[in-house]
C-alpha cells in the first residue's frame, strides 16, 4: 500500500517547526505504524537525510513511550490501542496521514515528534505512592481486600502514563492521569491512609506545571488507549473537596502555635 505522510519536523525546542510531506510505498497492511515509519527512515538515511525522530520502545502497548497525534487524534484512529499497536490495515491505500507531536504547554517539543513529559513524573513524585520503606511490612494476606475493590484499583492502575489524556484535552488538563493514580491508591486499604494528603500534594504540583483545568468534555477518556474511566476524575474531585474541607477544619488547632 502507498501513503502520503505529512510529518511535523522541528530541529529542537527553540527552532520553528513545520509540516513536511513524504511518500512511502509498498507497505504491507500487516506492518505496524512504526514499521512504516522505520521504512521511511531507512529511505531518508540512505538518501543522506536525517530520519524523523519519534518516541517508541516496547512496541507492544504497555511502556507508554509512544505518542503521536495521527490525523488529529492521539494514538490514531483505533480506539483502545497505542500508536505502537496500530497497524497499517487501519488505513486505506493512498491515504494522506498527518502526524504531529502531543500539543500541550506542559509538554515542550524536544525534536520532531518527541516531547518532554517529565511533568508527569513530577506529579507522581509529589505523592503518587504509599509512604513506606522496604522492610517491616505485614504479611501480604494480613489485610483482606474485597475483590471488586481490588479490581477497580487495578483498572485505575492500568494507566501507562503516555499523556494522551493531556494531548486530547482542549485545556491540556492532567486530571485523568492524576485521577487514575489517586483512585488506584485510595481504593486500597494500604493507600487510603494518606489519601487526603496525596490528593492535595498532587493537585498542588499539577497547578504549578502548566496544565489547564478540566472542562468535563471527557475527550481524555475517549482517547485513552487503556480505557481509564473519567469516574477517576470524580473520585479525585471528591477526594480533593474532602481534603480541602478537612484542612479548613484543622486550621483552628494549628492556631496553637500562633
Amino acid at each position: 500500500m502507498n501513503y502520503t505522510l505529512r510529518i511535523w519536523r522541528q530541529e529542537n525546542a527553540e527552532a520553528k517547526g513545520s509540516m513536511v510531506t513524504y511518500k512511502v510505498s509498498g507497505i504491507s497492511p500487516d506492518s505496524s505504524f512504526f514499521e512504516m515509519l522505520d521504512i521511511l527512515n531507512q529511505q531518508l538515511i540512505e538518501g543522506g537525510q536525517e530520519p524523523v525522530s519519534f518516541d517508541h520502545d516496547c512496541r507492544e502497548g504497555i511502556c507508554g513511550t509512544c505518542s503521536l497525534y495521527i490525523n488529529g487524534r492521539p494514538h490514531g484512529p483505533v480506539k483502545g490501542v497505542t500508536t505502537c499497536q496500530l497497524h497499517m490495515r487501519s488505513f486505506k491505500d493512498g491515504d494522506t496521514i498527518t502526524i504531529e507531536p502531543w500539543r500541550a504547554k506542559a509538554f515542550p517539543v524536544i525534536r520532531d515528534l518527541i516531547v518532554d513529559r517529565s511533568a508527569l513524573d513530577r506529579i507522581i513524585q509529589a505523592g503518587g505512592y504509599v509512604s513506606i520503606n522496604t522492610g517491616g511490612v505485614p504479611d501480604a494476606n494480613s489485610i483482606p481486600v474485597p475483590k471488586e475493590q481490588s479490581d477497580d484499583a487495578f483498572d485505575a492502575a492500568a494507566c501507562i502514563g503516555c499523556g494522551a489524556c493531556v494531548a486530547a484535552c482542549a485545556n491540556a488538563a492532567a486530571m485523568l492521569f492524576i485521577g487514575a493514580k489517586v483512585s488506584h491508591l485510595a481504593l486500597l486499604p494500604q493507600g487510603e491512609i494518606e489519601a487526603e494528603h496525596r490528593v492535595m500534594k498532587m493537585v498542588e504540583c499539577m497547578d504549578g506545571l502548566g496544565f489547564g483545568g478540566c472542562s468535563n468534555t471527557y475527550a481524555c477518556e475517549a482517547e485513552c488507549p487503556k480505557g481509564i474511566s473519567v469516574t477517576n476524575i470524580a473520585i479525585l474531585n471528591r477526594g480533593f473537596l474532602t481534603a480541602s474541607l478537612m484542612k479548613q477544619k484543622e486550621k483552628p488547632s494549628k492556631g496553637d502555635s500562633l
Binding site: I45, G61, T134
Partner: protein, 646 residues
Amino acid sequence: MTRLNARIPEGPLAEKWTAYRSGCRLVSPSNKRKLDIIVIGTGLAGASAAASLGELGYNVKAFCYQDTPRRAHSIAAQGGINAAKNYPNDGDSIHRLFHDTIKGGDYRAREANVYRLAEVSNSIIDLAVAQGVPFAREYGGLLANRSFGGAQVSRTFYARGQTGQQLLLGAYGALSRQIAAGTVTLYNRRDVLDTVLIDGRARGIIARNLVTGEIERHAAHAVVMASGGYGNVFYLSTNAMGSNVSPAWSAYRKGALFANPSFTQIHPTCIPVHGDFQSKLTLMSESLRNDGRIWVPALKKDVDRLKSGEITPVDIPESDRDYYLERRYPAFGNLVPRDVASRAAKERCDAGFGVGRTGMAVFLDFKDAIKRKGHDTIEALYGNLFQMYGQIVAEDPYRTPMMIYPAVHYTMGGLWVDYELMTSIPGLYAIGEANFSDHGANRLGASALMQGLADGYFILPATISSYLADEIHTPRIDPASHEFTLAAEAVRERLNRYLSTGGSRSVDHFHRRLGRIMWDHCGMARNEAGLQHALGLIGELRREYMEDVRVPGRMDRYNPELEKAWRVADFIELGELMARDALMRRESCGGHFREEFQTPEGEALRNDDEYAFVAAWEAAGEGAEPSMHRERLEFNDIKLSQRCYK
C-alpha cells in the same frame, strides 16, 4: 585460566543468608550520606535498588535511557511473580521453590544464590502489597495464585496479564518518593557508555545526554549495573527496541567477567514472525499455557489444506490433532519449562507439521478452556492478551486458536557476580537480568520479576554495605580526574568514528544481519560446524560495519541513529562471545541445545563431569581472543539428575 571464588558463606544452605546478614559490616547513618552510589537502569532491579538505597540514606544517582523510569522493559512482563508463600496449601516451601529453580535451570546455577532467592521471595510479595500493587484476589479478599511452567504447585502471584507493569509502578513509586526526598537524583534520557575505574575500583561512568548530546562524567563510591538483558543481539526479540548490552559491555571491556553468554531463553509462546520489515516480536504470556492446549495437525494433508485455505483449524477433528506436549510429557503436559516447549515446537515445525503462512507456527487453543470455564472467566484472566493478539494478527482467539512460535525473550547469562552480587571489579555490582547468577541454563516463568526485586530490594542493599564500610574515609570521587578525562575522550572518539565512517548502509541493516546469524546458528539448536561458521560471519560483519555504516546527524543533539550505532557495535562483539561460549560447551543444558549431545528421545544431554561449571570470560583487548575462567558448581543439597517432565 583461574578458578573463581564466589565467596559463598560457610554453614548449612538454609542458614547462609541469615548468617551472612548477621555478620556483614554496616555503615552508620551519618556516613551513608557521604557515600555516592550510581545505579544504571530503572527496571525492577534498578528502581527497587535505587529506592531502597535512598531510603537507607545513601546518596544515589539513577540513570535510564527512557524518558521516565516507569518505562523500563520490566513493564512488559506479563504472567506473574513466584513466591514460596504456600497460600494454596498445595505443598510449596522455600526448599521446593529452590529445588524447582535449580532443576528448571538444568543444574547450572549456584545453589547458595538460588536458595537465598527462594528465601526472600515471600518478602517481595509482602512489600508489593504494602505499596498498593493490585494483585489478583479471590472473593474472600485474599491473594490468588496460579500455576506456571516447570512447577507442580501454584505459587505465582499476578495482576491480570500485567504483573510486570504493576510491580514496576510500585518500585517507580518508591523511587519517585526518594527523588522527592532528595536522596535519589534521576538522570533520564542518558546512555551509559563507559565504566570508569580508578586504581582497579569502579568509581563512575561516562554517560551521553540523549537530548543535548553532551558527554557527562558521573563519579561515585560504587556502581550498580541494572541494565537488563541482551536479547536484542538477535535483532528480533520480545525486548523493547532500546534494550541493550552497552553498559554491561563497557564493564566487560574494562575487565569484568561475562558469564555464560550463550545461555539464552527462547520463549515458546510468541506471535510468529510475519515479514522481513518486522521490528520486534510480541510475547503471549506463558500463563496462557495454564488454559490453552498446544497442538499441530497430526496429518500432513491437513497442514496443506490449512495452508490453501480449504479448511480452518476448527474444522480439524480431535482425533486428527497432535497435542504433542501432552503426548510427550504426560506429567507436565502444556506446563513443561520454556526450553522444552520451544524445542518441541521447533521439532514439529521442522518435521513439516507447522502451520501459518510460513509453516513456522503451532496452535494454542482455548476451545476446551472456554467450554469448561466460560468466556467471561477466560476474558478476566487473559483479556488484555487476547486483545493484543487480535490487534496484531487480526484474528479472534476466542473463536479460532492462536498461532504461536518461539522467540528470544530473556538472557540467563550476564556479568559474573559473587555471592554479594559484586562483579570481578571491586565496587561494581550487577543485579537483575544484567547478572548471570540465579537461572542457570534456563529460567522458569515468573522468576525474572522475583530475581530482579530480590536483588534490588533485599540483597544488594545488604551486601553493598560490606564494601562501603571500607569506603567511609574515601572522599567524594573527583570526576575531573585523569581517568575520567581519558574515558570521556575515548567515548567521544568512538562516537565520532561512527559519524565519520560515511558508509552506505544503515545501522539497522547490520543489526538485522547479525540477528539472522545468531538465530540460525546460536539460537534454539546449535552445532559445532554452525557455530564455527557463525564466528566467521560475525568477524566479516564486524569489519564491514567499521567501514560501511552510515550514521547521519550530529553528536551534539538528539540522534537516535548514533545511539543505535554504539549499541549494535557492542552487540556484534557480544555475538562473537556468545558463539565462542556455545562452541566451548560440549553438552546440552537448558536453553543451550547442542545437537551433537542429546538423548535418543531428543532431550538435552548434560555432561556433569566436565561441564558443571560457570564459564566466565575475560576480555583481552582489541583483536585478541578472550580467556575463560571457571567457577565449579558444587551441589550439596540437590542430587544432579536428568531433568524429567514426563
